[in-house]
């Protein structure tokens, strides 16, 4: 009988090999974009046919495209995006975790109905209602404001759904015990549910973050003043009518992607840790 240790390392080796293969396939298009950001835009499609190592690794890489970004409004766009996304996260987490808590922990008539409202809101294609919603906002004077930008992103049905799914897993006994000890519903939320929910909160943050960071049609409808010009729009503005400098656009895309990527890398750890280590058991 083969020793379990040898079996385990063989298993791990196979997994590593498989993972390397998969990760390489996933990274290929991104590598192509990154390598094109390091060479002039006129060479973007030159290296596609035939494929060579130069397709992915430019012979004379330079950072000219990144330097040229300073002359565009991308910098301002990224700053605006960071600010609006932060606001969306703060208000969004507050709103969504509160709602998920109420729907999971509190017993009241109409609980199922209101949860259905949440699910139903998920089914509404946002881009399809963006136009009437923008008119509504304009009527309320929210044209060209940061509030106008973040409000639709703050109530996110999917985040509520995720959080509620997680909250339902918190044992009732824990709650009952603390209620007997005299804790009110606010206390239960802040002292029991929240501390045990780091993974779910990170997951909800990811959902809220991506919705706001990738927003494109909505910010355009709300108005693109200096404060409200967001990253993706600044990126789109770099395309002139007759030609696209892909080197420049790809450099901008790399910058726009790096921030969510960093957050995902950091947040991953907290998101997937098992709840047994987060203290429930």
């Amino acid at each position: 009988m083969k020793s379990t240790k040898a079996r385990l390392s063989f298993g791990k080796a196979v997994k590593t090999l498989l993972a390397v293969l998969l990760a390489s396939i996933f990274m290929l298009p991104l590598l192509w974009v990154f390598s094109n950001s390091l060479r002039p835009g006129s060479e973007t499609f030159t290296w596609l046919d035939p494929i060579s190592w130069q397709t992915f690794f430019p012979a004379n890489p330079n950072f000219d495209n990144y330097l040229a970004l300073a002359d565009t409004s991308l910098g301002q766009g990224i700053l605006n995006s960071l600010w609006t996304t932060l606001l969306t996260l703060v208000f969004g987490l507050a709103l969504c975790s509160g709602a998920a808590y109420a729907l999971a922990a509190l017993e009241f008539r109409g609980r199922q109905l209101l949860f259905s409202v949440v699910i139903f809101s998920l089914l509404i294609p946002f881009d399809a209602i963006a136009i009437p919603l923008a008119s509504m906002f304009k009527g309320l004077g929210l044209q060209n404001t940061v509030a106008g930008l973040i409000l639709p992103g703050v109530a996110n049905g999917m985040a509520i759904f995720l959080l509620r799914t997680f909250f339902l897993g918190i044992p009732k006994e824990l709650v009952e015990a603390s209620r007997i000890d005299g804790l009110n519903w606010f206390g239960v939320f802040f002292r029991i549910y929240l501390p045990l929910s780091k993974p779910a909160l990170v997951g909800a943050s990811l959902i809220l973050f991506l919705f706001q960071w990738h927003a494109y049609i909505w910010p355009l409808l709300i108005g693109t003043g200096e404060r409200t010009l967001l990253g993706p729009i600044a990126l789109a503005n770099m395309k002139s009518q007759y030609a696209v400098d892909f080197g420049l656009v790809f450099a901008g895309s790399v910058l726009l992607s790096v921030i969510p990527l960093a957050l995902i890398l950091v947040g991953q750890k907290y998101f997937i840790q098992s709840s047994s280590t987060s203290g429930i058991k």
């Binding site: 006129s42 499609f45 109905l113 259905s116 139903f120 049609i217 409808l221 789109a236």
Partner: protein
């Protein structure tokens, strides 16, 4: 599951009342206003005035013309807002359509003019028609008219020409096409030359139309084949895509891809790089390519746009106009800026400082075109462009249904390019456009 459905119904009931109110607020289109020349006594030189100008170009493009205007009117500030091109139509619809007074002037893609004029999104500026008529070539003057009124002023013009790779032609032993508009090559000659060049291995493909699946490019081909613009009728809402000319044009078009003379799969403005990357012997492109190709190392020359043997010579034309928002609160000042950028040759010339594009103003064009020959490769291009603009340019048809037509035709051209059976595809297209045009009936 029942509960899942109960909720929406209850809420719909709740929403009905409030939504009706909201609907009332959101919908609004204004009827076309009368053309009123602003009173001569309105003084726009003493008070500080702020004008809002909206368009798809980068801010650098309009800095010169704004600076030039501000020199004449130091009390007027012009704030330019850039909207990404593919969202421009929606933004105009949303903002101008809702009576937003925060925009004074905006750019109008000439084929969209009829639609905007009909919807009341443009101020009637017919009082400027006389001045415009003496400043613009007739095509650039006519294009701003709908329902016998003038709604915008042309800023830029365009035309198309043929670039060719001299080294590839030399290698295959093919003569250069003449640069004289009277001795221009036919599509048949291009096909023959391309076949020789591709067979000899001197080039991967023969030629490529820049905007290969767009009506802007294809119209000239259909017209040269005798098919007309494809849109007819007194209301310009009837289609004529099955006549002999259109059939000939579409068959020629499909064959060029099937025979490997034109490449498939590349579209938008990714086509130019194929010429710069030395994959094509010929390229049908616009004035902006003179600037773009100026940066490549291809030994290129310029010749006039081809036509079908025995057919008329037709070339694509048209570009952008600027118009006034009827809801603007600064119409007099805005009209002055508009005049400066279009009717005034100095101002119009300034709009072309940052881009390689033809000024619409006749005098400005006369000054601008020779400047395009600074690169020795573009020798002869100025005469070619001037000739086309004055003689062979065919503007896109004036119809309120242009957007639907253009969008659906483009998808059909792509399918035909990839081998779809022409007659049935055009039938499907005709049905789709007619259906989309239900909106106007």
């Amino acid at each position: 599951m029942k509960k899942l459905l109960k909720a929406p119904l209850q809420l719909a009931g709740l929403g009905l009342a409030s939504a009706l109110v909201l609907t009332g607020c959101a919908a609004s289109t204004t009827a076309p206003s009368q053309s009123a020349e602003p009173s001569a006594s309105e003084d726009i030189t003493s008070q500080p005035i702020e004008l809002a100008f909206m368009g798809p170009e980068t801010p650098e493009t309009f800095e010169p013309v704004i600076a030039g205007f501000t020199e004449l009117y130091p009390n007027i500030t012009i704030n330019y807002e850039q909207i990404p091109f593919d969202q421009l139509a929606t933004t105009i619809e949303q903002r101008i359509g809702s009576g937003d007074s925060a925009i004074d002037i905006y750019t109008v893609d000439q084929p969209w003019l009829a639609q905007y004029a009909a919807k009341g999104y443009l101020e009637d500026i017919s009082y400027l028609a006389a001045e415009a008529s003496s400043a613009m070539p007739s095509a650039m003057y006519d294009v701003n008219f709908y329902d016998e009124k003038m709604w915008a002023l042309s800023v830029w013009n365009s035309t198309q020409m043929m670039f060719y790779n001299k080294d590839m032609l030399d290698a295959a032993g093919v003569q250069y096409p003449s640069s004289s508009p009277d001795a221009r090559w036919t599509w048949e000659e291009i096909d023959a030359a391309s076949k020789i060049i591709v067979d000899s291995g001197s080039a991967q493909y023969g030629y490529l139309l820049e905007q290969v699946v767009n009506y802007y490019q294809f119209q000239a081909i259909a017209e040269s084949a005798g098919g007309g613009s494809g849109i007819t009728g007194s209301d310009m809402l009837s289609l004529d895509l099955t006549n002999a000319g259109w059939t000939k044009a579409l068959e020629w078009y499909q064959d060029s891809f099937a025979n490997g003379l034109q490449p498939t799969g590349v579209g938008g403005f990714d086509t130019g790089p194929m010429f710069s990357d030395k994959k094509l012997a010929f390229f049908i492109g616009g004035p902006w390519d003179i600037g773009i190709f100026g940066g490549n190392d291809v030994n290129w020359g310029v010749a006039p746009h081809p036509y079908f043997e025995g057919g008329e010579v037709a070339t694509p034309t048209g570009s952008w106009s600027w118009g006034l928002n009827p809801a603007s609160k600064n119409k007099t000042a805005a009209a002055e800026f508009l005049k400066y950028a279009t009717i005034n040759p100095v101002g119009n010339l300034k709009t072309t400082e940052a881009l390689t594009v033809i000024p619409a103003n006749e005098e400005a064009a006369g000054k601008y075109l020779p400047g395009l020959e600074s690169d020795p490769r573009s020798a002869g291009v100025s005469d070619i462009m001037l000739y086309e603009i004055q003689n062979t340019a065919r503007t896109r048809p004036t119809t309120v249904g242009y957007v639907q037509f253009d969008s659906l035709l483009s998808v059909a051209l792509e399918d035909i390019r990839n081998g779809a059976e022409i007659t049935s595809r055009i039938d499907v297209l005709t049905a789709a456009i007619d259906d989309a045009w239900e909106l106007f009936r």
